[in-house]
Chain length 215, copies 2
């Protein structure tokens, strides 16, 4: 399955500015991207990075500096122009965010499986975000503003596409803020978790809420 992985090279992970320098944010974002790409490949997907600028990565890269929604919809256009088979079936396409540092091959496989059962399968994130989806419906397009999970459910209904949610905490956890770093330390199994540990981050369980602190 073709899997588009949007990745911002321009000020990546700016909401981590309180705990990481710009260079560190860039390195951490790259570690998460690599983890996501490897989980996709291990699940049988063929990832392609949709980046806002050139990025040195061992996978195909398409550069599109337009806003996320515009760039992803252009990629969907491109996919569905050539996705139809002679028998009328349509090859699905997935879009998986580059900051899903807890993603595992199993979680990605569950996403792919849901996308084979329904026209549109969405793994929501916290706050109604759309962290990952699979679509085999040529008319489904995205709108990432606000509680996009609800918008995407509505858009699927409008174009007559069957919709299903994917109940995954791993795919549902995008790493945006310092609170999210604890999730990577607890559940991460790849480069991002290793990067954080090598940067001196440890779990802090002293307060009422578990967090990540730098030693």
């Amino acid at each position: 399955m073709e899997v588009i992985v949007p990745f911002s090279t321009d000020r990546p992970k700016s909401r981590l500015a309180d705990v990481l320098s710009p260079d560190e944010r860039r390195a951490f974002a790259r570690a998460m991207l690599t983890d996501v790409l490897e989980s996709i490949v291990a699940a049988g997907g063929e990832p392609r990075v949709l980046a806002t600028d050139a990025v040195d990565v061992d996978r195909p890269v398409t550069v599109d500096d337009r806003p996320l929604t515009t760039a992803v919809n252009a990629a969907l256009d491109g996919h569905f122009e050539t996705a139809g088979a002679a028998d009328g079936s349509v090859e699905p396409v997935a879009v998986v965010m580059a900051d899903l540092a807890l993603a595992t091959p199993d979680a990605v496989e569950r996403l792919f499986a849901a996308g084979r059962d329904a026209d549109v399968a969405v793994a929501p994130g916290r706050g109604g975000g759309t962290n990952a989806f699979v679509s085999s419906h040529a008319d489904f397009r995205v709108d990432y503003h606000g509680a996009s999970y609800l918008d995407h459910r509505d858009i699927a209904a409008e174009v007559g596409a069957g919709f299903v949610a994917v109940d995954s905490r791993r795919l549902g956890t995008d790493v945006d803020e310092s609170d999210d770093l604890a999730e990577v330390l607890i559940h991460g199994e790849g480069r991002a978790a290793t990067w954080l540990r090598e940067a001196g981050f440890v779990l802090d369980t002293s307060g009422g809420r578990v967090g990540a602190v730098r030693e």
Copy 2:
């Protein structure tokens, strides 16, 4: 499967005090409890409420006012005293928190299924909490302090119990703080979501982060 549902009748959901009055917090906590019990029953489980004081609910209730860890371990003791069958197999027991307002029968079924495949199956919450688990290992006991998910994984290893994590966003979302209310409005399908809407809560997508506000 026997399913223990711990429920605090004493100042429930105190971290929602900024948005709900004490009476409202009590009513909302009860709505969530009812949703959780119904999902458990629909998934084929037999729930029993483990409450800190008497609670009027249409299911068996055990009152134990000791701290959560002590009360749950006492319930596990009780279960495993009588859980062994003549053929040497052990009947599993589950513990599911009462504030998992996004729980659905499907999500609870996945928990039960994981608990049939491994000695101990845990659905983690945010910050390394243990939102739900199934155990069929007579020596596994809980310690809910701190990042209990990691502690429970260690405890399982210490007693020689096979361990698996359950990757569920629905079971991974416990409703503790006002930020969590948006999750209920977006994904809730039961009484708790209805209660919030009737209390005047709506989604706020005007800021950078989706929240719940009271109109």
